[in-house]
Symmetry: C2
Subunit: 345 residues, 2 copies
C-alpha cells in the first residue's frame, strides 16, 4: 500500500493529474452488502443506527480497505443524513428511503433548517475524525454529500423511483419554488461538507447521481448552477472535489466547468472519448459497469485492466460507473482492485 510520497497518496496525486506509481482504485458503495463482514455488522443494527454510530460506521468504512486494499476510504453514511437534519423525516425501508411528507410548498421550503453539522450531525464528523486516526495517513478519507438536485429528487416525492419525475414536475410547474429549495439545499450541503473538511476529510465527492436525467439546458439551470455554488463555498485548502453524475455522456463538458477537479463518469461513454472531450482540465474517475462484476472473475480482471489502460495513467482513478451491486461476489471486487497492480503508468 506504500505510496512514493506518504504526504501525497496516489489518489490525491491522481486528482491533481500528477504522476502516480500506479492508478489508484476505490469503488462507490464499497462499504456495503456485498461484504459478509458488512452484513454481520448490519444484522445487529438498523441502517440508520449504523450511520449514527461512529464506531460501527468506522468499522464498515474500513472493511474494503482491510479486505480488498482499496486506495481510499469513503466514510460510511447516506446522502439523506443532512436532509434529515434539515427537518425532513425519512424512513429507511428495505425498498429504499421513504419521505412521509414530501416537500412541495413554499411553507415547507421556508421551514427547512440549514443545520450546523457540529450540532445536528456530529456523528458524521466523528466518523471522519476516527477514520483519520485509524488510517494514520495510509490512504485518504473521502467525505461526501448529495448535490442539491439529487437531494431534491428524494424529498419532493415519497418514494425513490418517483423522485426524478416529481422533481421535473416541480421544475415545470413551480420553477421558482424548486430554485428556493435548491438554494436551501445548497447552503446545507456546503455547510455539511465544510464540517467534514474541518473534521479531516481529504477528498470530497459530490454525488449528483440523478442529474443525468435532465436535458443539458435543465442540467445547467437546476443542477450545475448549484454544484458550482457548493464547490465555490468549500473551504478548499487544496482538497480535491470529485463530481459524479450517472448518465453524464451528454453533459461532460458542462460538468468540467463546475469547478470540480475530477469527473466521476458512468460506463455509457468511453473513458478515452471522455478524455478527448475534457482534455486536461480535469481528472477522470471510473467507469466500469458495476454489472460486469457479476460476470466471471477473469472477465472482471480483463475489463478492469482495459479501463486502467484506457485511463492512460495520469489523472485517472479506477472506479465503477455506479455503486457496486449488493450481489457482487467479493472475489470479483478483489479482481477489480487487483487490476490496477503490476501496470506502470
Amino acid at each position: 500500500m506504500a505510496n512514493t510520497n506518504p504526504n501525497a497518496p496516489r489518489l490525491i496525486l491522481a486528482c491533481r493529474r500528477q504522476p502516480v506509481d500506479r492508478t489508484p482504485v476505490w469503488m462507490m458503495r464499497q462499504a456495503g452488502r456485498y461484504l459478509q463482514e458488512y452484513r454481520t455488522v448490519r444484522s445487529r443494527v438498523s441502517f440508520l443506527d449504523l450511520c449514527r454510530t461512529p464506531d460501527l460506521a468506522v468499522e464498515v468504512s474500513l472493511q474494503p480497505y482491510r479486505l480488498l486494499g482499496v486506495d481510499a476510504v469513503i466514510m460510511f453514511s447516506d446522502i439523506l443524513i443532512p436532509v434529515m437534519a434539515m427537518g425532513v423525516p425519512i424512513d429507511f425501508t428495505e425498498e429504499g428511503p421513504r419521505v412521509s411528507d414530501p416537500i412541495r410548498t413554499e411553507t415547507q421550503v421556508a421551514a427547512l433548517d440549514v443545520p450546523d453539522p457540529d450540532i445536528e450531525t456530529p456523528f458524521v464528523l466523528d466518523i471522519i475524525r476516527k477514520l483519520r486516526r485509524e488510517l494514520n495517513g495510509a490512504v485518504p478519507v473521502i467525505g461526501f454529500a448529495g448535490a442539491p438536485w439529487t437531494l431534491a429528487t428524494y424529498i419532493v416525492a415519497n418514494g425513490k423511483s418517483a423522485g426524478v419525475a416529481s422533481a421535473k414536475s416541480m421544475m415545470l410547474h413551480s420553477p421558482d419554488l424548486l430554485h428556493r429549495l435548491l438554494e436551501k439545499l445548497t447552503l446545507s450541503v456546503t455547510g455539511y461538507l465544510n464540517g467534514q473538511i474541518d473534521a479531516g476529510a481529504q477528498v470530497i465527492q459530490l454525488f449528483d447521481t440523478w442529474a443525468g436525467e435532465l436535458s443539458p439546458s435543465d442540467y445547467e439551470e437546476f443542477a450545475l448552477r448549484y454544484e458550482r455554488h457548493v464547490i465555490e463555498g468549500l473551504k478548499r485548502k487544496g482538497i480535491p472535489v470529485i463530481l459524479y453524475v450517472n448518465g453524464c455522456a451528454g453533459i461532460l463538458e458542462r460538468m468540467a466547468s463546475s469547478g470540480a477537479d475530477v469527473l466521476s463518469i458512468d460506463w455509457r461513454l468511453d473513458l478515452s472519448d471522455a478524455r478527448r472531450r475534457v482534455g486536461n482540465r480535469v481528472a477522470l474517475q471510473g467507469n466500469l459497469d458495476p454489472q460486469v462484476l457479476l460476470g466471471p472473475r477473469e472477465r472482471v480482471f480483463q475489463l478492469a485492466r482495459q479501463t486502467v489502460r484506457d485511463g492512460g495513467g495520469a489523472g485517472h482513478i479506477l472506479n465503477l460507473g455506479h455503486g457496486i451491486l449488493p450481489n457482487t461476489p467479493v472475489e470479483n471486487a478483489r479482481a477489480f482492485v487487483e487490476a490496477t497492480q503490476g501496470l506502470s503508468t
Copy 2:
C-alpha cells in the same frame, strides 16, 4: 397538411436531409393511452387483440393523425409481436409483458423459428396495407421493429425491468449463446421488416431502446453489429430507416455508422451538439423530454419551438426523446405538434 411535393411528404424529405416547407413532427407511441379515443377502443379488447385486429389497429393508428395532425402514421403494434411468432409465449399484463419461459439455453435458441411474416403475422401487413389505402398518400406510413439487442432484453428474463440486467449477465457468462440468439432475432426482424416494406411501409423505425445501457464497446459488439445486419438486409427501395436508442449520448457517432438515415435521439444531449457530432451524415429526430408534456401548455409549446429551432430545419424531424407518457394531457400533445407551424425552415 399539404406538402410542396405530394410524391415526397415532408417527413421523407427530412429523412433525406432535403428542404422542407416546415419541420415534420410525429410522436413515439402517438397511438396510445393519452387519447380518450384510444382508451375507448382499448376498453373493448385486450392489448393483444388490438394488435391482431387490423380494423381496430388501423383506427387507433389514425387517431393522432386525425386529432392532432401529425406528419406520419406509425402502425399500431408491439415490438414483441414478431417474437411471439418466433415461438416465445408472452403475456401482456397491465405491468408490461411477461415471458413465462425465458430464453436461456442453446436448445431454446435453436428451437426458435424464423417466421414468415405473410404466414405468422399477416395482420401486421394488413394494418399497413389498410393504412396506405386510408391515407392515400396524405402522410407516410411508418413500419417498425425492435432491434435484436432490445428484443433480447425482453425474452431472456421474465419481466421487463430485469431484462437489461439479465441480457448483460448472458453477455458476460455466455456471450456465444447471446450472439446466436441475436443472430436469430436479426433474421426474424429483417424478414419482418421486409414484409412490412412489401406491404407498403414508407419509412422504417428500428427501436434499439435499451442499447443505451451498454458500454460503447458492448454496444458495438452486441447491438450495433445487428442493427447493421438488419439495415443491410432490408429491400430498401429508397425507404428511409430511423434508428432510436434511449440514452444515446455516448454512442452517437457509432450509431451514425449503422446505415440508418436518421438517428432518433433522447433529451439527455443537445440537438445542436448532436448535429455538430454527426455532421450531415444523417438526419436527426427528437428530442424533447416526454415529461415536459406533463407541464403547462405554454411551456410545452415554447420548448418544442426551441427544439425546432435547434434542429435547424433541414434534416430534422420533431419528436419526443422517448414515447409519449400515458398521463399526457391531449392539449399538450397538440401544442407539441403545433410548435412546428408558422416557422419557415
